[in-house]
Amino acid sequence: MYTQSFNVPDSPGAKTVALAPSSDDPALQAAFDTRIDADGRIEPQDWMPEAYRKTLVRQISQHAHSEIVGMLPEGNWISRAPSLKRKAILIAKVQDEGGHGLYLYSAAETLGTSRDQMLDGLHSGRAKYSSIFNYPTLTWADVGVIGWLVDGAAIMNQVPLCRCSYGPYARAMVRVCKEESFHQRQGYEALLVMMTGTEEQKAMVQDAVNRWWWKCLAMFGPPDADSPNSAQGMRWGIKRVSNDELRQKFVDATVPQAKVLGVTLPDPDLKWNAERQHYDYGQIDWAEFWETVNGNGPCNKERLATRVKAHNEGQWVRDAALTHAAKKQARSIKEAA
């Protein structure tokens, strides 16, 4: 699905993409529109409007960065997991997130951007990633709550993306969604276990829920009224369900789960609205959300620094692997001669 190499470009790592011509040709635009309207899929070699390509590159690379940075808050707890079983589970989950990042980087590469370019965007601070990962994981309960609520919110967001108009992105999302359900369940189950524990442990769960709930609601993005680009995304079949609609679905799904768990969600305005057949909920603090998006959250600097450090410290491994590969190849050529 990612191969389109009848035109092999320069750098060895770059995706072998022959970029589809981007002209203002009305016939091409019309063909594109017709396919979108018929709910068809766009593949890497197909003509696409430049703005569609740019939007996808930005969205998919940000999504990839989020998976990669998302490994950090939970990674903090791998060495402190309360049992070997929980440790193995957490390692598996964090490893999945690394894989999700890779599927998504690969999908973005089909649009003609290179892995190095994207990593550079992340490491230089130019590129954004999901703001949710800029909050700290203070206790073991945070790990459970991240699985339950953060992965839960991510699933709500990602399921409609499986029907995205861009083929490689949609296929990557199918793969991701298959793996996400374990993430949410392991988190929720870890919390269920804690809720059978001491008063202190139960309080820990409630505290983590209190700290994460509002941040999770903000994950769906600004209200529809304040999302000017949403309509274009919908028109292009990149976005299928609006921010507010997804947020509502998440709230409606989570309230009964909280009840089973035995925690309260920290919102006095949260109540069932019989008329709407949905839960009403209170005001999200958007000022705080934007502060964090713009780099001033509690962990933005730490996350980026950790990521850059890990990348730099892995440089010798990447270099050594290439040198080793070159040596092996030279040896096998010599033996054959």
């Binding site: 699905m1 990612y2 191969t3 389109q4 190499s5 009848f6 092999v8 750098s11 060895p12 790592g13 770059a14 995706k15 072998t16 022959a18 589809a20 593949e43 070699q45 197909d46 598996a92 490893q95 999945d96 894989g99 890779l102 599927y103 690969s106 590469e109 290179s114 892995r115 190095d116 990557a172 793969r175 793996e179 990447r318 270099d319 692997a321 290439l322 040198t323 080793h324 590969a325 070159a326 092996k328 190849q329």
Partner: protein, 97 residues
Amino acid sequence: MSTQLKEWPLWEIFVRSKQGLEHKHCGSLHAADAAQALEMARDVYTRRQEGVSIWVVESKAITASNPDEKGELFDPAADKIYRHPTFYEIPDEVGHM
């Protein structure tokens, strides 16, 4: 280290999900060489026993058809409906054929 060595080349990954089925393209990844690509494909695409066999092909070794020539390439088959069984009218009493 020269700069052209900086990024690992790209590989396309094909996985056979179970014995008796074909290898199916499932994605791509960067790796220094084929052996490493195989190992990484194992870790990335078969963490839950999704495969019993993996092929890796360096992306640049694949030649793809040009979408602009889709017409010339595939249209010749469009008017050869007699290649399909439904083209032929067979009396009902013959039964399944």
